[in-house]
Amino acid sequence: MLVAIVFFIGSLVLYVNFIKPTYRNIDLLRAQLEAKRQQYNDYKSIIDRLRPVFDSFQSAFQLQESFSSMLSTEPMVPQAVAQLNGLASNNLLRISSINVNELAVASQKSVLLKGMGTIDLNLTISSNSYDAIKSFLQNVESNIRIFDVKRITIGRQENTNAFNVNFNVYAYYQIE
């Protein structure tokens, strides 16, 4: 009888001290496994859907080049200055001053949403021709590298017919 009681108590001790914690661990492991399998299935479905996109992306060199020309992956300040100067020259305008200021980059919201950097180019131009200024503005807006005219002040010079124009043009670049 005593041995039976010892076995019975032993069973209870085994259940409470060993089986219950083991089952708790097993429940956790099962949940972990389920989550991992779900993650695998999600990844698989995303990759299966993305693979054709990746394949076509690999062959879309021209599009990649166009995008990089519109929004380069580096600030490329000399290129921006040279392009603005070229556009001014094409319209017989002379840039009298350029001031470049690289603006702080906004924090990225996620790895998938890569932000942009901004360069603020402040230009001063003098010209006798309002049409040349308008044409320059049009050329700036249709330039392959995206320029965004943020501020423009046109004023007449005292005692002359010349215009003083001050531009704030933003040039952007993609952050990698």
Binding site: F7, F8, T22, Y23, Q64, E176
Partner: protein, 188 residues
């Protein structure tokens, strides 16, 4: 001589068998319960738990293999490419068409109104104009033109405006033109 138990003896012996059999059965039952419990524990701890761990490791390595199936460099360049597409679209959508605004200004300005300076801020969507009009009546007409151009102009705010007096040959003051300042809030 074969001794045979009487019915009474047989009945009396039954009670003794019972007393000896119950503890024994209890012990066997408890032992079975104990061994089953121990078996469940060992099976769960060293069997099922190990199986689950191996399954987790296997799924991890499958995920690794899946993510490695597209090289990291290719993933990065694709992410940059899609970010470029998004950002280009955003910039082009948000960008204000400045040449179009100047065309609007040319078309919507009275012939006898002149601008000394025009400052367009596309970020704040405001235009500050300093100009000259022959008189307050013309200035009011000009403001009305802007106010009616609801496709482009949201609000017309009149700033400081004053009549400039000039002296004639005799030295007496005559009314000249009106210097005005306007702020236009332009639509997005």
């Amino acid at each position: 001589m074969v001794y045979s138990k009487s019915i009474l003896e047989q009945e009396l012996n039954k009670g003794e068998e019972l007393q000896v059999g119950w503890p024994w059965r209890m012990m066997v039952f408890s032992a079975i319960v104990f061994l089953t419990t121990a078996g469940i524990f060992l099976g769960a701890e060293f069997g099922f738990k190990r199986y689950l761990k191996s399954q987790i490791n296997e799924t991890d390595s499958q995920i690794d293999a899946l993510t490695r199936s597209i090289p990291e460099e290719q993933q990065n360049s694709f992410l940059v490419f899609s970010a470029q597409a998004n950002n280009i679209q955003k910039v082009l959508n948000d960008r204000y068409n400045t040449p179009q605004f100047f065309s609007f200004l040319e078309k919507n300005t009275l012939k006898n109104v002149f601008y000394k300076s025009v400052a367009l801020d596309t970020k704040e969507r405001t235009v500050n104009i300093d100009g000259v009009a022959p008189d307050f009546n013309i200035l009011a007409q000009q403001m009305e033109i802007f106010r009616n151009a609801t496709d482009t102009i949201d609000k017309v705010i009149m700033g400081r405006s004053n009549m400039v007096t000039i002296k004639d040959k005799q030295g007496s003051e005559i009314l000249g033109s009106v210097n005005f300042a306007l702020t236009l809030k332009i639509k997005k």
